[in-house]
């Protein structure tokens, strides 16, 4: 009898304890919405303030599409912006929020979604929603990681990528884990891995350009491979993307007098992302004179992209976002240029020029454009790269191009800044091409800072 009581009591305790985990998983305050449904996760991904509207611009700020007058530079209210412009030795990058943190905000959202969907059973009734949310999270994470590694690590070089520090790859939501920099190779692998998962999961077309689609994921992989100088693959993915969307805007239909001639969510936009930077504000950032001079007067981009301030300086007004924020997402024109470049690099000058001419016919005044023709793939490549520079300013792509082309003898560029008599130069492959990581991050994690 007594033995039985103990036995039953023991069994009871064991059963209760095993039920404990579920018992303790109950939420302690009901008004706190705890994500449990796919729609909750979709709502996080639809937070376009976090996921789309703010993406890094520090690379663009360091690049050579613009210059600042000393007085405007001096008036920048934080030394961080000033340092971005001059690739500063001193790291006073203590702004909050900043590009680094905001990109990782996206990563944290994605990790929440990925962890949450892990425990939601996917079945025939919810497969579409589930796939879309999961694919979007993979896409957004890949996109954020790519932006980060392009800005805060050295250019990809297959010879050294396995050794050089990339960026921290945060793959779960536990913020107690100390951030550690992965190798550049691991970073690109992660981006490609995430983006490929996204390709498999995302729908061909998204409801809004704020949401990722299959085309966007192809485009992201194309861009990634281009940064890795894996031109074969970059060309294939750009092609896949263009298979789904190859509409180009005829710039002749745009109003050149408008303050922002290109409307947001236009036909070319595949995936929407925006960026801001105090040093890049179109009221102070002056278009590089060499760049400006490279446009023909028949080229509509000269008037659609640039605003003549009337004092000999020009500002940028050609954002695909239709406002003063920079468009840093994925668009059809970029895909044409990637495919063209890759054709050219594979000695297929005809296909390269076909793409290039298709694009430019939509950029020049009607009837003025004479298709460029050559059989020399190298010349075609030169022309494609030249047009790439002219087509994609202020898209946060120039920094990546500078970095990857510096790896090619003959395409190296030294950037110079002039401020009040002081001359700053950034030679090719300088370590400063990897921007300084925010000082507080270094302090708190002990991770390796990029040398200046």
């Amino acid at each position: 009898m007594k033995l039985k009581i103990i036995l039953y009591g023991g069994i009871l305790v064991i059963i209760t304890c095993s039920a404990c985990k579920k018992y303790l998983d109950a939420k302690s305050n009901k008004s706190l919405v705890i994500a449990t449904k796919i729609s909750d996760y979709q709502a996080l991904l639809d937070n376009n303030t976090i996921m789309n509207r703010v993406s890094p611009s520090n690379g663009e700020g360091s690049a050579d599409n613009y210059y600042l007058n000393y007085s405007d530079w001096d008036a920048l209210y934080n030394d961080a912006y000033k340092n971005i412009y001059v690739w500063g030795d001193e790291i006073t990058y203590d702004l909050f929020p900043n590009d680094w943190g905001q990109a990782y905000d996206q990563v944290y959202f994605c990790n929440n979604v990925l962890e949450g969907l892990d425990v939601i059973q996917k079945d025939s009734s919810n497969a579409n929603e589930w796939d879309n949310a999961e694919g979007s999270a993979f896409f957004f994470r890949a996109n954020a990681f790519l932006k980060l590694v392009l800005t805060w690590a050295n250019a990809y070089d297959s010879a050294t990528a396995g050794k050089e520090p990339g960026i921290p790859l945060r793959l779960n939501t536990d913020f107690n884990e100390v951030s550690v920099r992965a190798t550049i190779q691991d970073c690109y692998n992660q981006v490609l891995n995430d983006a490929e998962q996204a390709v498999n999961l995302l729908p061909v077309n998204a409801l809004f350009a704020t949401r990722p689609s299959k085309a966007a994921a192809y485009g992201l992989i194309a861009r990634t491979c281009l940064a890795m100088r894996n031109y074969t693959r970059a060309g294939l993915y750009a092609d896949s993307c263009l298979q789904l969307n190859h509409t180009l805007i005829d710039y002749n239909t745009l109003n050149t007098a408008a303050s922002y001639p290109i409307a947001i969510f236009n036909a070319e936009m595949i995936f929407y992302a925006g960026a801001f930077g105090a040093e890049l504000s179109n009221s102070i950032a002056n278009i590089d004179t060499v760049l400006l001079a490279s446009y023909s007067d028949s080229d509509l981009r000269k008037t659609i992209f640039f605003k003549d301030r009337g004092n000999g300086t020009f500002g940028f007004k050609g954002s695909y976002n239709g406002n003063n924020s920079l468009f840093t997402g994925i668009a059809v024109d970029e895909m044409y240029l990637i495919r063209a470049e890759c054709y050219a690099r594979e000695n297929n000058a005809a296909s390269a020029l076909n793409d290039l001419n298709t694009l430019l016919q939509n950029r020049w005044k009607k009837g003025t454009y004479i298709p460029y023709e050559t059989n020399d793939a190298q010349q075609a490549l030169n022309r494609v790269l030249e047009e790439r520079r002219k087509e994609l300013p202020f898209r946060d792509l120039r920094w990546m191009d500078l970095k990857r082309l510096n790896k090619e003898p003959g395409r190296q560029v030294t950037i110079t800044r002039l401020l009040n008599g002081a001359v700053y130069t950034l030679p090719p492959n300088d370590p400063r091409y990897a921007l300084p990581i925010p000082a507080t991050v270094i302090e708190l994690t002990g991770m390796q800072q990029n040398p200046r």
């Binding site: 103990i6 303790l24 302690s28 706190l32 943190g101 996206q106």
Partner: protein
């Protein structure tokens, strides 16, 4: 009587009846009384142990006991600290026994302590407990049992300040976490309102102060534990009735204590400001201007003659609003408390039934009434089985009273001007300027509006705000003796507390009229008037329900032979506390016919006041909170040779509040202790100190924040830009490592008893180290949490303390004199805190905790004071070590943390009480004096910005610097217009206003007269006690010279109160 009340009442009666019929004449039970050999007074708490057995019983407060024994039993041993242990032979026919005990010289105070998990005899104690017995608890009146700990328990500190915890045991041990001690009622944490406990039903209170005492309570014991034990039914005791009745008269507070600026000075300032064009007569919200300013405007605009205006203003200079408050608002408070209990018991069942009624009316006419009934039953249906069941029901009602001084403010938060008049010369209520300008109120809406005046003396009669509480607390404990020494017990506790709020603003109330008017829509063209908020009453109802369930299964094992004694307990428990709430509002409510009007909550209406579109307030809300704990625990004590004791305790908690990593990996909280009764050693032969025991303990307890959740939570936002989708943001970030705060305590103590029991007591020294404390931790942005800091378990603190609890009996003959001395020292310092900033200005205000490393948690930090300037009367501070009046620099970075004066702690590190008890024949007199030393407070003073904009004046305006030379005798800065906000706040937060807060207070005086049957044969009852208490009697000495009560430096002090009553036992 409420219908709600009758139902549970019946339930209790039925239960009791049922229990009584269960009594059956089985088993061999002996009963008896343990009395003092000296005066035949009962000895409660004595242990009776059958020869050679482990079971024991303890006498109740009347010295009674009942013991079920086998036929073979030949003797029992009776023990009580302070008395000579006796072993006597018995035979079963002797029952009831009357056993007289001789007083022992080895006096150590109370004999057992309750931890909520077990009752342990003091010999086995290695930790730090304070036992407050029934007599001490009854030396103060009042409906709240916790308040009766004031001045009777060492290390307990009450604090009136709103920015600090109101009650601490051994000081604070957290920064951002909850700071209240855990309250345990009859073995389970108590979630309800402490006022649901009737003090008359409380037998004793035990404070668990160190780790050895408290760690059994695990993650919620870090702030100490207050264990309340209620009176219980017990077996084999005669039928007894006890009655208690008392009334308390509370003095009106003295309003002259308030440092109110004189009306004359106030009006002079207003006139000056008016001449400077300070007042904005055309604000968008028609903000109120004071009556004097309105008169000045009328005078300027020629609406009244200058002579009239001056005459009226001069008349107002003579008015002091405190007189009206004293005359029309404040009154003497009156509390009544009645309680009755019945107890008795047979061989197999015992019971304790009680009922109590409290009715309090405070000095603002706010009412509180409480009915409490309680049933406690003990059943022993089988030899090995004991069941304790209790059921308590409380129904209380709070009713709001009149608005007190300082509670009438304008909509913008301005104070009442000192020349306000609440009534005219005949006592008729007068309207006050409240939210809007008089001219606006008088003329607005061309007669379409309801009267827009506020009448303070009438308005409270139109607002009926009540809060009702109905609480059921049920406990059942089953104890089964499996084999010799091994007992299994199962306990269940249930609490259901429903708090119902009802506020009815009737149609005449200012609140309802104001809201109706604000929303009134007038079409001046057609003259059509529409009232979106309908005329009539507004009814706010709220309902909050607490359901708490506790289950505990526990095994106790005891073993004893000649030299060794072992006690082990182990258990598992789970608890859930679920709080749900809702509130809603009804417009156009008619209390007579229960009709109401639906209003349009969806569309904005143009506010008549601001001209902006605004929505009618809905008042709807819902809440739902759930706390769950699952715990396992164990506790053991080993005694060797009656003098060496080793104890240990361990507990592991898991909860839905903690992060998963904490639940899974967290180490258990534990403690260990050792005790050595030196005086029992053969080598020890001190006749001066015949009793001496040393104690040492070490261990951990925790502190959990019930408001923090360990899950990621979202909030939804409508209409995303571009897509119009509903989207979500993350509002709370799951921290899988979030755990409880840990308090490590090392305690060492000595218990002594001097020759003949003339003196004795205990001294404890402890080190308390808080770690894992909640604090803002800087966050690596790579984590992606959109923020720079997050609350984590990061901060540390360290406290040292001493508790002394001594008694002396200088006289112990017919005239007795007992002295009970309590002394506590506690000073906790910040040892680690992230994000310490160096800007001194961030530390001087009263913004809660701004910890400074190496300083007490609650420190008074002030700007250095360099006096008033000779030429201008400007307050002077320091910038870069030089005397300065650059107030902007002083506030914005010019004062580093290291440049501040550290005045001292703002809570007393030294405090305690001196209790003198005298008794002679049937009279007993208790005088309790409390003291607090070593701390500082900040006086209030003139702040010109607050005076100009907020109408907050101070009487020391009269002492302000007016001419060179004044700086020699005043610190009050010169009048300055326009005001300088930083100048004012520099002065207010400077060392010039810091005073020593040390004080000695006469806490209470009690006079008792007791007669019992022994002394008066013809008395128709067993015992009768008449008592008279004076509480809150006043300050005897204070360090400050301004006559300020440091506990109430600028607010009303509660008046003294007087209680008269009787306790009769039949």
């Amino acid at each position: 009587m409420h219908l709600k009340f009758i139902q549970p009442c019946l339930a209790v009666l039925i239960l009791t009846f049922f229990v009584s019929t269960l009594q059956a004449q089985t088993g061999n039970t002996i009963t008896g009384y343990i009395l003092s050999a000296k005066d035949k007074s009962p000895i409660p708490g004595a242990t009776i142990q059958p020869g050679g057995r482990n079971a024991m019983v303890i006498t109740d407060d009347k010295g009674r006991f009942a013991l079920t024994v086998p036929d073979t039993l030949s003797g029992i041993t009776i023990k009580h600290e302070g008395y000579v242990t006796q072993s006597i032979r018995i035979n079963n026919n002797d029952s009831p026994l009357y056993i007289l005990m001789e007083e022992n010289v080895n006096v150590l105070g109370d004999v057992t302590v309750s931890t909520g998990y077990e009752i342990i005899p003091k010999e086995r104690v290695t930790g730090s407990f304070t036992q407050v017995n029934n007599k001490q608890l009854n030396e103060q009146a009042g409906s709240n049992i916790i308040n009766r700990l004031k001045g009777v328990a060492s290390s307990v500190l009450f604090d009136n300040s709103e920015s600090r915890p109101s009650l601490t045991i051994r000081g604070i041990s957290t920064y951002e976490g909850p700071s209240a001690p855990l309250i345990v009622v009859d073995n389970f944490p108590y979630d309800g309102d402490i006022n649901n406990i009737n003090p008359n039903d409380v037998e004793s209170i035990t404070l668990l102060k160190d780790a050895a005492a408290a760690s059994i309570w695990g993650t919620r014991a870090g702030n100490g534990v207050i264990v309340i034990t209620t009176k219980k039914g017990s077996l084999n005791q005669p039928f007894s009735i006890q009655l208690n009745a008392g009334v308390t008269l509370i003095n009106k507070p003295g309003l002259s204590y308030l440092p109110q600026m004189s009306s004359s000075d106030f009006i002079d300032v207003e006139s000056y400001l008016f001449n400077q064009g300070f007042y904005n007569e055309n604000t968008y919200n028609h903000a109120a201007l004071s009556p004097v300013v309105e008169l000045l405007i009328k005078k300027r605009d020629g609406l009244i003659t200058p002579a009239d205006a001056d005459a009226q203003i001069n008349a107002l200079k003579q008015v002091d609003v405190r007189n009206d408050f004293d005359k029309y608002i404040y009154r003497a408070g009156f509390n009544q408390q009645y309680a009755v209990n019945i107890s008795g018991g047979g061989n197999t069942a015992g019971y304790y039934l009680s009922a109590g009624y409290d009715k309090n009316v405070n000095e603002l006419d706010a009412g509180y009434s409480r009915i409490h009934i309680q049933s406690q039953t003990v059943l022993k249906p089988m030899r090995n089985l004991q069941v304790n069941a209790s059921l308590g029901y409380t129904n209380s009602m709070n009713e709001a009273g009149r608005p007190g001084y300082g509670e009438i403010t304008t909509i913008t938060g301005n104070a009442l001007y000192p020349y306000a008049q609440l009534a005219d010369a005949k006592g008729n209520p007068l309207p006050l300027i409240k939210d809007y300008r008089e001219t606006f109120v008088d003329t607005a809406g061309e007669g379409h509006f309801l009267d827009w005046h506020y009448y303070p003396l009438q308005d409270y009669t139109h607002v009926n705000a009540t809060t009702g509480t109905a609480d059921i607390l049920a406990n059942i404990a089953i104890e089964y003796k499996i084999v010799k020494g091994l007992t299994a017990s199962l306990q269940y506790a249930y609490e259901r507390q429903q708090v119902t709020g009802k506020t009815l603003y009737d149609a005449e109330s200012y609140y309802a009229r104001d809201l109706v008017n604000q929303f009134t829509q007038i079409d001046y063209g057609s003259g059509a008037v529409y009232y979106p908020v309908p005329k009539g009453s507004i009814l706010d109802l709220s309902d909050n329900l607490l359901l708490s369930n506790n289950v505990r299964a526990q095994l106790n094992y005891g073993y004893r032979n000649n030299k060794n004694e072992l006690h082990i307990l182990a258990g598992w428990e789970t608890r859930q506390s679920h709080t749900t709430g809702n509130s809603y509002r009804t417009y156009g409510y008619d209390d007579d016919v229960l009709s109401f009007t639906n209003v349009d909550l969806v569309n904005p209406y143009t506010s008549y006041i601001t001209g902006f579109g605004s929505y009618i307030p809905s008042g709807n809300s819902f809440s739902d909170n759930l706390n769950r704990f699952v715990s396992v625990y164990g506790n053991g004590a080993y005694t060797f040779n009656d003098r060496y004791v080793l104890t240990g305790s361990i507990r592991k908690d898991a909860s839905n509040l903690f992060g998963v990593n904490s639940n899974d990996k967290g180490i258990p909280l534990w403690s260990a202790g050792a005790g050595w009764t030196v005086s029992k050693e053969p080598f020890y032969h001190s006749s001066l100190v015949p009793s001496l025991k040393l104690r040492f303990s070490y261990g951990y307890s925790g502190n959990a924040d019930l408001s923090r959740s360990a899950v990621t939570t979202l909030s939804y936002i409508s209409n995303a830009r571009y897509t119009n989708l509903t989207y979500a943001n993350i509002t709370q970030f799951a921290n899988p490592d979030l755990g409880w705060e840990i308090t490590k305590i090392i305690n060492t103590g000595v218990d002594v008893g001097f020759k003949n029991g003339i003196a004795g007591g205990s001294i404890d020294y402890y080190i308390k180290q808080g770690s894992n404390l909640f604090g803002p931790a800087p966050l690596d942005q790579t984590t992606g949490l959109q923020r720079a800091t997050i609350t984590k378990n990061v901060a540390d603190m360290l406290a040292h303390g001493v508790d002394v609890d001594m008694y002396i009996k200088p006289l112990d003959r017919r005239f007795k004199w007992n002295i009970h001395l309590l002394f506590s020292y506690n000073l906790g310092k910040v040892t680690n805190y992230f994000l310490e900033d160096s800007n001194g200005a961030d530390y001087v205000g009263n913004f809660g905790i701004a910890p400074v490393k190496g300083k007490p948690v609650f420190s008074l930090m002030s700007f250095k004071w360099a006096g008033l300037s000779h030429d201008t009367g400007d307050p002077q501070g320091y910038v870069d070590g030089k005397v300065s009046t650059d107030y902007d620099a002083i506030f914005n970075g010019g004062t580093k943390l290291t440049d501040l004066d550290y005045n001292g702690p703002s809570v007393p590190p030294y405090f305690g009480a001196l209790h003198n008890g005298f008794s002679w024949k049937n009279f007993e007199l208790d005088i309790n004096i409390t003291y607090r030393f070593g701390y500082y407070f900040r006086k209030s003073s003139t702040n010109y910005s607050a005076l100009f904009y907020g109408w907050y004046g101070n009487k020391d305006y009269a002492d302000r610097w007016q001419k060179p030379g004044d700086e020699a005798h005043t610190n009050v800065p010169s009048f300055l217009y326009p005001d300088n906000y930083n100048r004012d706040n520099f002065y207010i937060n400077s060392s010039a206003l810091v005073e020593k807060a040390d004080n000695i207070r006469l806490e209470y005086i009690n006079l008792n007269y007791t007669i019992n049957k022994a002394s008066l044969k013809q008395l128709p009852l067993q015992n009768l006690r008449l008592y008279c208490y004076i509480n809150n009697a006043g300050i005897l000495w204070r360090a400050n010279k301004d006559g300020l009560d440091p506990d109430y430096p600028s607010s009303l002090k509660p008046g003294a109160n007087f209680t008269f009553g009787l306790t009769a036992t039949f």
